[in-house]
């Protein structure tokens, strides 16, 4: 069984989605994350074990390699696609409540900002770390964040901004969220955002890359 989980993990790490995927060449014509996850479930491996022992370690390795500049955004996206093909089989177990996630992460790009690549990467990495991700998209109003936070008590909020002008909207959103729920954990990121700005606006954590966001969530989930 360990071997099967290792194979799933390798498929996710290197972006081998399914049997048809020609990449990586060493795995050509072999089953990918999609088929292997099905086989694992059918053999009685629990969805939680597949997540904990195959997907999370794989995405963690991907995040670490990205942080060390050993891989770049395209490979991260390929890994996320493979992870998603595995999640197709696992999602029903989460939806039914049979298997529990580590928590809920609500993410969006703040109002006035339409950039989403960085936010999408963070969302994918966090889903790969075992969290339920509620992606509100781009140009998200403060009201929308508040409304969603009300729906998911205990959720962690992630705010993204790529423009110096929209950093001001990030500040306003953090202030409004703090007003309604002081203890709510808020994570911020985006090219112009700095650790100093994070402290100044009263957010809990700033991460320059997706893996930092995952590590932060891991630290608060313990």
């Amino acid at each position: 069984m360990t071997e099967l989980l290792e194979r799933i993990s390798i498929c996710v790490e290197f972006g081998k989605v399914d049997l048809k995927s020609p990449y990586p060449p060493a795995l050509k014509d072999q089953q990918g994350a999609f088929e292997l996850t099905r086989i694992a479930l059918d053999s009685g491996v629990s969805p939680g074990v597949i997540l904990e022992e195959a997907l999370i370690p794989a995405m963690s390795r991907v995040g670490e390699k990205f942080s060390r500049n050993e891989i770049f955004v395209p490979q991260m996206l390929m890994a996320a696609k493979a992870m998603n093909s595995s999640m197709i089989h696992l999602r029903p177990f989460y939806l039914s409540g049979e298997t529990r996630r580590k928590g809920t992460f609500i993410v969006g790009t703040v109002t006035g900002d339409l950039h989403d690549i960085g936010k999408n990467l963070v969302a994918m990495m966090i889903e790969g770390a075992g969290w339920e991700v509620i992606d509100l998209g781009v140009d998200v109003s403060t009201e929308k964040f508040i409304e969603t936070a009300d729906k998911y008590p205990g959720a962690v909020i992630g705010l993204s901004a790529l423009l110096t002008t929209t950093m001001e909207n990030m500040r306003k959103t953090v202030a409004s969220l703090r007003e309604i729920r002081h203890s709510m954990k808020i994570l911020v990121g985006g090219a112009p955002v700095t650790p100093e700005f994070c402290v100044k606006i009263g957010a809990d954590h700033y991460s320059p890359d997706p893996q930092g966001a995952v590590e932060f969530l891991k630290s608060i989930a313990q």
Partner: protein, 220 residues
Amino acid sequence: MLPGVEALERAMGYLPGTAPEPVTELIQEVSEELVILDGVKAEYRIFSNIRLWPEDKTVEIEGVIFHVKPIIYSQITDTEEVALFICTAGPLVGEMSRRSMKEGDLLRGYVYDVIGSEVVECAADNMQDELKRAAGTRGMHITNRFSPGYCGWDVAEQHKLFSFFKDNFCDITLTPSALMNPVKSVSGLTGIGRNVRYTSYQCHKCDDNNCIYRNRKTKA
């Protein structure tokens, strides 16, 4: 106007020839799709009615004051004229990127996005070459180009800059948060004068470690 595979690999962080096969294949596929990329445009206007204010590190163009901040100001102190410019890769590439992302094909969406960024930079380079040639015929030189949002210049000043292009043929519009539409567009200023010069970017003076232009090679 479309950049080659190696240039795109570099823009994604790879050394030329080292991107994985699916990435290079996708670059080729998307490039073929975009081979006739309509809507790439650039426009500039040259202003000689300018004043430089060293105390505030500002430049005044026809009565409008731009707070360009110290890094940019230091590069344009000897400028006699200022060219304001806007460039765009057009709406198609941004729309294709958004659509692919929405459909869940994030890698394809990312490739469109990177191509769009490179195309608009290439358009700006060509405009800069034209500006350099035109300035040269008058015995003048040009500085680097500088954009709101970089080197400390507040992106909100893009609104002032666009007020000089009321009839802009590039068809770029601004959102209240100074976001350009089409998204793959750039705007900014270039100094022109007998004693100005083109330099490497002064990235060591700036604390924006995430800047997309950080240590980017300059095209003289």
